[in-house]
């Protein structure tokens, strides 16, 4: 998984210039349940991965999210 690309896609969803691995998702102005939905959609369409609602709620940083998607891809 190309993490840099993943952060770019995340930045697009969160309507911001750049997302760094250590950024907390909840700190973004655009973070809400619709952003979460867009992330589920990205995980599904770009990575073929299903992320559950409770999983996305428990993730804190962008890096944790990237790791979650990546770990699902290996299965």
């Amino acid at each position: 998984m190309d993490k840099a690309k993943f952060y770019e896609q995340l930045a697009k969803i969160l309507d911001i210039g750049e997302v760094k691995p250590e950024h907390a998702l909840r700190d973004f102005e655009a973070w809400d349940s619709l952003a979460a939905l867009s992330i589920l959609a990205m995980a599904d369409s770009k990575y073929g991965v299903t992320i559950k609602a409770e999983e996305i709620r428990s993730v804190v940083t962008a890096e944790q999210l990237a790791n979650l998607v990546e770990s699902r891809m290996k299965k």
Partner: protein, 357 residues
């Protein structure tokens, strides 16, 4: 569960929408939304406008109006109505069935079956299945399927997510026997273990209405709801839709011997443009064959999205010819149904504005 129905067809469809049309651009200041957030939401969901019934107009009024149009223009005769099947989640009363109320208002004879079904997103297709089964009763001439929902009444008008996506509507579909074999292929699936994904938690008998159940709570910024409003787990619904509907559509196409090319139109329930775009991409169905414009123009009207979809996107084509269509309805229950059939010709297939009579 797969099955084939034969010698049945849809002969007319009328959808009825409230005259009252509201635009997102006018409404969003009443939601707790910054202009930036409103812009993002509008783009994500292709929001434009929706139709909302005034307080005094119920689902049954919209359905009754459509049915009266068919009777008035002679498309349907009162004595041909052998059954009224009313599919809704917003009935007039807990008791009696709303189909009986409609029967009474039309002054129909006594040899009629009245049946209410509680279903939403898959309600048009479940209603068709019920209609096909009823037509096995040989004494019964035609079935009138009534789909109606006024879900805007089950949410707070300041709920910035649910409300702009919702619309109210009713539809009338006439189903009858035909000489031609006209096989109709369907697959129907249910998973009640996930019933909480779309739920009105209180107001019926499990949790009766109390002053507490109508209290509004803010569950996230700008999303206010009471226990008597529709609660939706957006992420769970998204995952359900993406994981369950595409394989079912594929199975149904295999069952009917169809391909993406042999189907003229994929007429799906319209939950929101975001989910449908994702779904079309995942299923590799060209966007031109899978209309995705109902929510932008009318709002998600629960079981009426498919009748609206038929009239708006293929009504003209269907006037004098038959089209190969694949339907899919999915959501509350959870229930998901897909169907392949030849639809048309439908000389009457239209959308009308409701007028109080």
């Amino acid at each position: 569960m797969k099955s084939i129905f034969k010698h049945k067809r849809i002969s007319s469809i009328v959808s009825v929408v409230p005259k009252e049309e509201y635009r997102f651009d006018d409404e969003y200041p009443s939601f707790k939304l910054t202009p930036e957030k409103a812009k993002r939401f509008k783009k994500m969901m292709s929001l434009d406008r929706h139709r909302i019934a005034p307080p005094e107009v119920c689902s049954s009024d919209l359905c009754l109006y459509g049915l009266q149009q068919l009777l008035k223009d002679g498309t349907l005769k009162p004595e041909e109505i052998g059954a009224l099947v009313f599919v809704s989640q917003t009935p007039d009363y807990f008791m009696p069935p709303t189909s009986n109320v409609i029967h009474g208002k039309l002054g129909l004879g006594h040899d009629v079956i009245c049946l209410d079904i509680n279903q939403g997103c898959a309600g048009f297709l479940l209603g068709l299945v019920q209609a096909f089964l009823l037509l096995e009763i040989s004494a019964l001439p035609k079935v009138v399927l009534l789909n109606g929902d006024t879900c805007s009444k089950q949410m707070d008008k300041c709920n910035r997510i649910s409300y702009p996506l919702t619309g109210d509507a009713g539809s009338v579909t006439v189903i009858e026997r035909c000489e031609a074999e006209n096989p109709i292929y369907m697959d129907i699936k249910n998973d009640g273990s996930r019933y909480k994904a779309i739920l009105v938690p209180a107001g019926a008998f499990r949790t009766p209405a109390t002053p507490e159940t109508i209290k509004l709570r803010e569950v996230e910024e700008g999303v206010v709801q009471s226990e008597q409003h529709i609660h939706m787990d957006g992420a769970a619904i998204f995952n359900f839709t993406m994981n369950s509907v595409p394989p079912q559509v594929d199975e149904t196409l295999a069952f009917s011997g169809d391909t993406r090319d042999s189907i003229d139109w994929f007429l799906f329930h319209q939950p929101n443009p975001f989910i449908l775009t994702q779904m079309a991409e995942k299923m590799k169905i060209p966007a031109a064959k899978l209309p995705n414009n109902i929510v932008s123009l009318y709002g998600n009207c629960s079981s009426v999205t498919i009748p609206l979809n038929i009239a708006l996107n293929c009504g003209e084509q269907l006037k004098d010819k038959s089209l190969r269509v694949c339907f899919s309805g999915f959501g509350v229950g959870l229930t998901w149904i897909s169907m392949v059939m030849n639809l048309g010709p439908l000389p009457v297939c239209k959308i009308v504005d409701y007028e109080a009579t």
